[in-house]
């Protein structure tokens, strides 16, 4: 406690216009070599707090309070003074590494720029040499060649490493990682978190991690600041926070987080579900065999997005399909209900062949299944009222009595029937996703494809939507292909789990087996990379993962 903080935010208040108070009296300190996590849901003000430390807020923001970096008050600085701090004293790594790098300049140019902006006398050649050293430091192999590459030529993980290299170029006292791993796959996220830990040890930086992910917090933070609606509701060491949460909100947040644990599974009211082996006995809801989907790649070459995948879902069964981005899991979902045509292999839907179905047969089959998409904001027509969105499948299939049916559907997703007259943009993300679910169950489907239905939602909202979804599944008994990258969510909802990696089905089996006793190396690595919201357990998992 004797060391003076590298970053001290005191009583920060940020308002937009007269009404919106984004940050309301926040105080946070980060000492050199310390990692502090600011955690909260969307709209909690955590990103506004981090942006204000560099004076990066738009001019409409009114800021009061003190932000000290190495004893200097940032809020009192003018343009040139701020620029001298930015990148040199405080550096930031942002969420989306694809868009955070300038697409028109090489990686080397951008890292060198970070150097040359602050070391005016550094030659171009020297800056590029140093840039190569920095890339090596953040674990990029073949750094010399990478310098000449453009951002779009690198993978997401590499791009984020470049961002970090750029951030540490001038050896700042404070590094702010604003949702720096959110857009990354879990295995890459784990590597980036390792890198941040190493850099902290090497350079003694103070690191402020902004995140919504409790697993990330448990993995990396020394201390945690919990924010809610612009205020700090709790500050504690990471062990205390998870073991003895004080604030009501923190407790609620922690219970909302799905956990990847043996016992954490839905209680199924229905006993109708057969054992996995028996599922094949009745007519399966979905049977994929040797499914191959190809897309046209560069120069007319074909890219196999799905490579000989066979998967069966029994009636009323929930199968979780997990995998990292680009593994082909969404393509499988879309092919399963005929939105994409497979190159070879067959899809049998509810006992009938979908691959050969045309015209009326195809429509009749499609009527019996439905899909819920990830982003409710873009999968609902912005010019249709909520009622019309839900009624559309009824209209298409000429089902009368629509008014009552829409009202009943809204009730079943726990929304007031009066919202039918509203437009999607007037609703919150969670409400919108419930509309998406209501639309999906409008025709009493026998199979629902749920493609990352809760990934765009905050954890507490996710918890209620998942709860609702499971209740409906229980009541209506539809079979479900639940596609997600979140292993904890899969652990919660699925009866069986299938794992995909670069187009292939790597492993498939009962939930307990795949998640807690995986046979394949890939699954083992995937499971080990998913951070759990428990610091002690996470430390163990990390050690395990590094030994893999």
């Amino acid at each position: 406690m004797t060391e003076s903080p590298a970053l001290a935010i005191k009583d920060l208040r940020v308002t937009f216009g007269d009404t919106v108070r984004a940050v309301d009296g926040v105080s946070v300190e980060v000492r050199p070599g310390e990692i502090v996590a600011v955690v909260g849901e969307s709209g909690s003000g955590k990103s506004v707090t981090s942006m204000s430390t560099l004076g990066l807020l738009p001019p409409t923001a009114e800021v009061s309070g003190v932000i000290q970096v190495g004893g200097v008050d940032v809020t009192a600085l003018d343009g040139a003074g701020l620029r001298a701090i930015r990148g040199a004293e405080v550096a930031m790594v942002f969420q989306e590494p694809m868009t955070a790098l300038n697409p028109a300049f090489t990686v080397g140019w951008q890292v060198a720029e970070a150097l040359r902006l602050h070391f005016a006398d550094m030659s171009k050649k020297r800056a590029y040499e140093r840039a190569a050293e920095l890339l090596e430091m953040v674990g990029i192999q073949d750094a010399k060649r990478r310098l000449g590459q453009f951002p779009h030529e690198l993978s997401g993980g590499l791009r984020q490493r470049v961002m970090i290299a750029m951030a540490i170029a001038c050896e700042p006292k404070v590094l702010i990682a604003d949702e720096a791993t959110t857009a990354l796959d879990v295995t890459v996220q784990a590597e980036i978190l390792d890198l941040l830990r190493d850099l902290r040890a090497e350079l003694g930086m103070a690191i402020l991690v902004i995140t919504h992910n409790m697993g990330v917090v448990a993995d990396i933070a020394d201390r945690v600041v919990v924010m809610y609606q612009g205020k700090v509701v709790e500050q504690a060491t990471v062990e205390d926070l998870f073991a003895r949460p004080q604030a009501e909100y923190t407790r609620r947040l922690l219970t909302s987080v799905p956990r990847l644990e043996r016992g954490a599974h839905r209680a199924r009211a229905r006993t109708a579900l057969r054992e996995p082996g028996q599922a094949a006995a009745g007519t399966p809801a979905l049977a994929l065999s040797d499914l191959v989907v190809e897309f046209r790649g560069e120069r007319g070459s074909k890219v196999r997005a799905v490579d000989e995948v066979s998967l069966t879902i029994g009636a009323g069964e929930v199968v979780g399909l997990v995998g990292e981005s680009g593994s082909g899991k969404s393509t499988v979902g879309r092919t399963a209900i005929g939105l994409i045509k497979p190159a070879s292999g067959s899809v049998r839907l509810l006992g009938e062949s979908l691959t050969g179905a045309k015209g009326r047969d195809l429509r009749r089959l499609r009527r019996r299944c439905s899909i819920v998409f990830q982003d409710p904001a873009s999968s609902l027509d912005p010019r249709m009222t909520v009622g019309d969105c839900i009624a559309e499948p009824l209209i298409i299939n000429k089902i009368g009595d629509r008014d009552d049916r829409v009202a009943a559907l809204l009730k079943s997703v726990r929304l007031d029937p009066s919202v039918r007259a509203r437009y999607p943009h007037e609703l919150s993300g969670g409400q919108r996703q419930r509309i998406g679910i209501a639309r999906a169950i409008a025709l009493d489907p026998e199979l629902v494809i749920a493609d990352e239905p809760t990934s765009a939602l905050d954890v507490s909202v996710q918890a209620t939507v998942l709860d609702l979804f499971l209740e409906l599944q229980d009541r209506l008994g539809f079979a479900c292909l639940f596609i997600t990258h979140d292993l904890a969510v899969v652990g919660l909802v699925a009866d069986r789990v299938a794992v995909m990696n670069s187009g292939r089905l790597v492993e498939e089996g009962p939930r307990e087996e795949v998640l807690f006793d995986p046979r394949e190396d890939y699954t083992r690595r995937l499971v080990a990379s998913a951070p759990v919201p428990d610091p002690a357990a996470q430390r163990e998992r990390r050690a395990q993962r590094l030994s893999l």
């Binding site: 560099l54 990066l56 343009g79 620029r83 001298a84 701090i85 930015r86 990148g87 040199a88 550096a91 930031m92 942002f94 989306e96 868009t99 955070a100 790098l101 300038n102 697409p103 028109a104 300049f105 090489t106 720029e113 970070a114 902006l117 602050h118 453009f150 779009h152 030529e153 961002m163 750029m166 560069e298 120069r299």
Partner: protein, 317 residues
């Protein structure tokens, strides 16, 4: 890159071939055929038959098309009915002058529009932004001939500092020797283009200002000037360059009006006069040349784009 070029040039050739078909068919849709057009409504049937026979119009269509195309391949666009010259030699004389006019007015337009668009993008919704937007819209909405007339009235009559007529020299050198006469035609051409380019630039800059990489550049400590003129500029130029290629036919049609107002001896004036004398070979030759120019223009725009945007470059490797 060579693969990409070969493919694009192949596509261009197909387009040009289609254009020749269309131009050929246009020639035959003239009411009463070209003979009626030339000889006038009072011509006797015998005179028309003689004309048709002389020009081969009494043969079958495919045969005529073949004659037309084989002529084209030898650089023969036919002969003017009224000017006693071959169309190709007429176009050869005129086209460099039109290229000078359109090239210079585009250059002037870009030099004004790019900084203007950037400046407006940064000061969006300010009073000056609204003011400039108004001016630009007026420039955009004003018909070119009207704009040209206003320029003449203001700069040649009210304040007589510039000549009304463009230089009438035969050669390009002669054209530049009398460069004062070029000012008004170039200006008239530039004003409309400024409107188009600056709007594109403004919205491109606005889009890019909201991009994450701009925040990254600021977080590195880059000055606002550097962010705008280096980081944003490179990314905002792509739509402008893409548009330049497709702007070519628009420029030519602008030249048509401007050249006739200022009596500028280019393709536009040639076309204008030919239209009035029903000199079809010239009209069709000009259409063909403009079509080819458009195809080449979009090809060049694509190549330029690859130089600016590494993602495009990567895709066409």
């Amino acid at each position: 890159m060579t693969r990409f070029l070969a493919k694009r040039i192949g596509q261009a050739l197909v387009v040009v071939a289609l254009v020749t078909v269309i131009v050929f068919l246009l020639l035959h849709t003239v009411p009463g055929g070209p003979a009626r057009g030339i000889l006038g409504p009072q011509a006797t049937a015998a005179a028309i038959a003689a004309f048709n026979h002389e020009h081969g119009f009494d043969r079958s269509l495919p045969e005529q098309y073949w004659m037309y195309v084989s002529g084209l391949l030898h650089g023969d666009l036919g002969a003017s009915y009224t000017l006693n010259q071959s169309v190709s030699s007429l176009i050869e004389q005129r086209i460099p002058k039109t290229l000078v006019l359109t090239g210079l007015s585009t250059l002037v337009a870009l030099l004004v529009a790019i900084p203007l668009g950037v400046w407006q993008g940064r000061r969006r919704k300010g009073l000056t932004d609204y003011f400039i937007t108004t001016l630009v819209f007026i420039g955009y909405a004003t018909p070119v001939f009207f704009l040209a007339l206003i320029l003449v009235i203001v700069f040649a009559e009210k304040i007589p500092i510039l000549p009304v007529q463009a230089p009438q020299a035969e050669t390009l050198a002669g054209l530049f020797a009398d460069s004062r006469g070029l000012v008004l035609p170039i200006l008239a051409g530039a004003i409309a283009s400024v409107a188009v380019f600056s709007r594109y630039m403004r919205s491109a800059v606005l889009d890019n200002l909201a991009e994450d990489y701009v925040r990254t550049a600021r977080a590195k400590g880059a000055s606002e000037r550097r962010v705008v003129w280096l980081h944003i500029m490179r990314n905002s130029l792509t739509p402008i360059v893409a548009m330049l290629g497709y702007q070519l036919p628009v420029l030519f049609s602008g030249a048509l009006v401007i050249e006739s107002v200022f009596n500028y001896p280019g393709m536009g004036l040639l076309f204008w006069n030919a239209a009035q004398t029903s000199d079809y070979p010239i009209l069709l030759g000009a259409v063909l040349v403009i079509a080819v120019a458009t195809v080449i223009g979009s090809l060049i725009a694509d190549i330029l784009q690859a130089f600016i945007d590494p993602r495009v470059r990567g895709a066409i490797k």
